[in-house]
């Protein structure tokens, strides 16, 4: 009989073993600034993870094994964006990722990289929402509205359909190696939000929006690494929306509009 202990000792990360023993070793990042000087990793062994999401596993650990574990969650259905974490180096939503889909015997859970740590898996999102607020994440239309509604054709609606799906989970911004280097970079989530309103023809401050992101810490900081696109639980091509903004800026400059 292979025990959890030998598994940890051997540092096994073998997919084949998953069929032999039904046990997953969770290595979870633990840090409480009030008590600890430095973060540590604590392991929890969970048998029988079939049908469990990572969030189910976290809730199971908190309820049955260690009530001191902290993590964020709310909706449990991939819509509030609060449960985004970093699992085996990849950002994802804990509530819509099956443990067994990761096909690993050992799963390392860390708080989202690139943000200040608060406690265990919880990060401080203030810097993230500061960036979000800075791009005016709402429609600005100062002209007198028509009697019924501001009409938009289906093709234009489609242009920002993808970007409008964002749930502000921050998985993209946190996954970006440029964000890891430069804390002042606006990041893919805020830029995708900017693109969402630039592509919406009912919005009337396109030029101001382009000027907001047309700088060193805006669209031009992006290195097109695509980690953001790969991380997005809503499958938004965030890197693509940054490229779309760049293209629009260049086009406006060539035609003398900015």
């Amino acid at each position: 009989m292979i025990t959890a202990l030998t598994l940890q000792e051997l540092d096994v990360e073998n997919v084949v073993l998953r069929g032999v023993i039904d046990l997953v070793v969770f290595r979870i990042f633990r840090f409480d600034p009030a008590r600890n000087d430095a973060p540590t990793f604590q392991t929890y062994d969970l048998p029988d993870t079939a049908g469990m999401t990572i969030l189910d596993a976290l809730i199971h650990i908190k309820e049955n094994m260690d009530s001191t574990l902290s993590f964020r969650r709310s909706c449990r259905s991939a819509i509030c964006g609060s449960c985004a974490i970093c699992a085996n180096g990849k950002n994802l939503l804990a509530c819509n990722t099956q443990v067994n889909d990761l096909k690993k015997v050992r799963i390392t859970l860390e708080p989202l990289p690139g943000f200040p740590m608060m406690r265990d898996l919880v990060v401080d999102w203030e810097p993230f929402f500061d960036q979000y607020r800075s791009v005016k994440p709402y429609m600005v239309a100062r002209s007198t509205p028509p009697e019924k509604e501001r009409i938009q054709d289906q093709k234009t609606r489609k242009a920002y359909d993808e970007a409008a799906q964002c749930i502000m989970c921050s998985a993209c911004t946190s996954s970006c190696p440029v964000v890891w280097t430069d804390g002042n970079y606006l990041g893919p989530a805020a830029l995708t939000k900017a693109w969402r309103f630039v592509a919406d023809d009912r919005d009337e401050i396109t030029r101001e929006r382009l000027a907001m992101v047309n700088n060193e810490e805006g669209v031009w900081r992006c290195h097109t690494i695509f980690r953001c696109t790969d991380s997005c639980p809503k499958k938004i091509d965030t890197a693509g929306s940054i490229e779309s903004l760049r293209k629009k800026i260049i086009w406006h400059q060539l035609t003398g509009r900015i």
């Binding site: 180096g89 890891w180 690494i225 293209k247």
Partner: protein, 132 residues
């Protein structure tokens, strides 16, 4: 607490990331870019040899550079330049608005071209120096 951005943070994180295709392309691009810069300085250094020694020293140096170990290093450099250049083209295509949704496939297309060119270069260098 340790910072959450900066060069040190980038290096620590980047050593533990999940290696999706785009991330791999980024790391390769960075490493090859730096490699070529290092080569550039070595190259300028070596070429400035004539400045200090007008005798036959430079010819001897050139003969050394034509030996097998140096030729192999040349081929590694060539591979680095091809990977960097072709991936650079890939990135520029995204900037022009193309293939963003096909970035993974495009990476492997570029790497296939790079691999083919390195094979051809190896064959040509080998033929010129009697390896086969």
């Amino acid at each position: 607490m340790a910072g959450h951005s900066g060069l040190g943070y980038y290096l620590r994180r980047v050593l533990r990331v999940s290696l999706e295709t785009g991330t791999m392309a980024h790391l390769l691009h960075r490493v090859t870019g730096l490699l070529i810069v290092v080569y550039l300085f070595l190259h300028i250094g070596a070429m400035s040899y004539t400045y200090f020694d007008a005798g036959s020293g430079f010819d001897d140096l050139m003969a050394t550079f034509a030996s097998t170990p140096f030729l192999i290093v040349d081929l590694v450099l060539f591979a680095g330049v091809m990977i960097h250049g072709l991936n650079g083209l890939r990135i520029m295509l995204f900037d022009m608005g193309y293939f963003s949704r096909r970035q993974k496939e495009l990476f492997w297309v570029m790497m296939a071209i790079a691999a083919t060119s390195v094979l051809i270069a190896t064959w040509l260098v080998g033929a010129a120096h009697g390896w086969w």
